[in-house]
């Protein structure tokens, strides 16, 4: 995973608090969700080969587990979780070696 992000394993980022809705009217914005964060990371931080990070449906690819403040994102609403100030979002790539 670090290989995708210039070997950095921790990145502190200021993420926009609101994203436009799909129809892109400026006055209709929604609070930033993890779905937005994944899109934003792909556009802003990823140097190459986005398919190693994102999947087809705007989520992360298979084999990546997302943590919201130290807990499995499934407990927090997965893609629709609304980011709070100072949230720590971690992307874990599963290991298979032994």
């Amino acid at each position: 995973m670090e290989l995708l992000f210039d070997n950095q394993n921790t990145i502190q980022a200021k993420v926009p608090a609101f994203f436009p809705t799909d129809d892109n009217k400026d006055e209709e914005r929604h609070a930033a969700t993890i779905r937005d964060l994944i899109g934003w990371i792909t556009r802003s931080l990823l140097k190459e080969r986005p398919e190693l990070f994102v999947g087809d449906n705007g989520s992360v690819r298979s084999g990546i587990l997302v943590l919201v403040n130290g807990a499995d994102w499934e407990l927090e609403g997965e893609l629709e979780y609304e980011l709070q100030d100072r949230d720590e979002i971690v992307f874990i790539s599963t290991l298979h070696g032994g």
Partner: protein, 277 residues
């Protein structure tokens, strides 16, 4: 299946004395181990420390699965083998070491590649399964076989300087497919031969797998919520415990209406083979 006994022999009492006097473990814990059989799948980096400590701990029967043979490049991390056993079956070599350490432990050698044709009866014969393998296909195979056979699965993995540890299919927690319904793209999967590994890293994870299996056998962790332990040798905080989801009602193997009711072709499912190295 392992025949249950009602009490320990005097040599067993002498051998396990430091566990028998342990508050919160004692004779009850030791009897739970004595009447428990465990299967360690993989006698490599994870399986080395795991099988040694389980063999020493006093479990009644230890099965060891591996189809590979001992190579010099394994020995920096696979400390259950040694230089003289080069070329010998890893399952055999591991069994020799465990028997030398503790002749009271019944060791069963499974010198084979586990696949959907042979896994179910082997897993059915043990109480707890330890995933100490090194490839995605066998991880899904073990998961499904453990769900079908209602056995807890203690899963460990290690690569480079990192490790992961989870108990699947236990106490209302998730199975591997609840967390990872589809296998990762094969270009994102790295094994220790290609990615490298610091030898002691799988040693640490394998010890933790032995501990988790002992906690299951003795019920010590029966009230714990499902977690994953992340290990990172190169971080100043080396361990991190994360809270996991419960079993998913819509999981295709452990959910309320499973569509997987027998083992499938895992090599095809994962697009990679169990013997790719």
């Amino acid at each position: 299946r392992l025949e249950k006994v009602a009490k320990l022999t005097n040599p067993e009492i002498a051998r396990y004395g430091r566990q028998l006097i342990l508050p919160g473990f004692g004779i009850h814990g030791q009897m739970c181990l004595r009447n428990c059989s465990m299967l360690v799948v993989g006698a490599g980096g994870l399986g080395s420390s795991c099988a040694l400590y389980l063999g020493g701990s006093g479990i009644g029967r230890l099965g060891i699965v591996d189809h590979d043979t001992v190579d010099i490049s394994n020995l920096h991390r696979q400390v259950i083998h040694n230089e003289a056993r080069q070329g010998l079956s890893k399952a055999q070599s591991a069994a020799v070491s465990v028997r030398l350490l503790n002749p009271h432990c019944q060791v069963v050698v499974h010198d084979l590649v586990l696949d959907s044709s042979n896994a179910q009866p082997i897993i059915d014969a043990y109480d707890i399964v330890i995933d100490a393998t090194d490839n995605v296909a066998t991880r899904y195979l073990l998961n499904d076989a453990c769900v079908l056979s209602k056995k807890p699965l203690v899963s460990g993995s290690a690569l480079r300087l990192d490790g992961q540890l989870t108990i699947y299919n236990y106490g209302g927690g998730p199975c591997y497919r609840c967390l990872f319904p589809t296998p990762p793209p094969s270009e994102t999967v790295t094994n220790c031969s290609d990615g490298g590994v610091l030898g002691v890293v799988p040693g640490i994870v394998g010890c933790l797998q032995a501990l988790e299996a002992i906690k299951i056998a003795t019920g010590m962790n029966a009230q714990d919520p499902p977690t994953m332990t992340l290990f990172s040798a190169n971080s100043s905080t080396m361990f991190r415990t994360i809270k996991l989801r419960k079993r998913k009602a819509d999981c295709i193997v452990c959910g309320d209406s499973p569509t997987i009711t027998k083992l499938i072709d895992y090599v095809r499912f994962c697009g990679s083979s169990a013997t790719d190295k």
